[in-house]
Symmetry: C2
Subunit: 209 residues, 2 copies
Amino acid sequence: MKTRRETASEATTHRLSLLLRSLRVVENEGIRTISSQELARRFGLNSAQIRKDLALFGEFGVRGVGYRVPDLKARLLTLMGLDRTRPVVIVGAGNLGQAMADSRNFNGDSFRVVALFDVDGRKIGGKTRSGVPILDASQIGIEVPRLGAEIGVVAVPAEAAARTVDALARAGVKAMLSFAPTPIVPPPGVTVKTVDLTLFLESLSFQLG
Amino acid sequence: MKTRRETASEATTHRLSLLLRSLRVVENEGIRTISSQELARRFGLNSAQIRKDLALFGEFGVRGVGYRVPDLKARLLTLMGLDRTRPVVIVGAGNLGQAMADSRNFNGDSFRVVALFDVDGRKIGGKTRSGVPILDASQIGIEVPRLGAEIGVVAVPAEAAARTVDALARAGVKAMLSFAPTPIVPPPGVTVKTVDLTLFLESLSFQLG
């Protein structure tokens, strides 16, 4: 049987992320309760959709009061598995890999980059600006389990992407984000999301005409 | 009146990009004609959807033969505005900006990075590894029109994102890609697509449970 989490669509997940972000903003403003209508108005969301998405996961709102901001935020964090820090490893210590290793996006309450991997002997043994160690990519099978990494980021050239995904999967990583401009067929039980920058550029080009 | 291009949804644009990529693959294999069914089978697309998307823009297929690969590819390139090279500028010469400036994604037949901009005096006047010049961000209003840049990439910290978008818009850039982890309200007539890496990570976390 699939869990609710597994049946939630990609689009639902995306909306829950945006909702969480909106809650962080209003919490920082000291607001304690908010209606779905007010959230919708302020953040360009759809109030009926908010209620529908949250209904998938239980009762969140209080009739006539709206949502209690700290409660809803805490429950969303738990629901999304963001209530603890997941160790992340990045394969490929080029500019892109190092940018992510040192980025606030990848180093907050819910994620922390614990290592970079590369095949370049001049990089191995070094550290990024923020101190993330660069390890030998041939040691992924040993280091990833030791570090307890749960998420792998693939920032290698296209031709190395498939074997990087395989190496991470064999080391037990079940969720990956790939920046390689090539389609990836993930092993069974592994999720790979691809960030395809070319698609973004092509879409902009299309709109420019 | 809106053009067909303006009425094509984001999802359509995305599918046309994927179709174009599939055509490049089969063309490289020397295949001259292909049916929508075969494209669908090989690349995990939907054959009825392919026919429907292409029908928005005119007659492409030949009954009983399928699509002529070079013709369809050429027409898609023209349709998407990818049949010429668009100059791209990147604001923010950190690791991320430099990674993109030197990336194959951003330097092909359809796009070329012509300059980076930064506020850091130690970077201004330098070049990236592949030779892209790093210019003074205060000169965006002069340099962007001179370079004829059509697309701007925003790779600055969140707090500098809004003023970067404004500076690029004032310099005539109508299409931007932002990596800043903050919502952007684009000026009228300007399209800003945001690549929000936190959303990707949160989605992976959600699936891990």
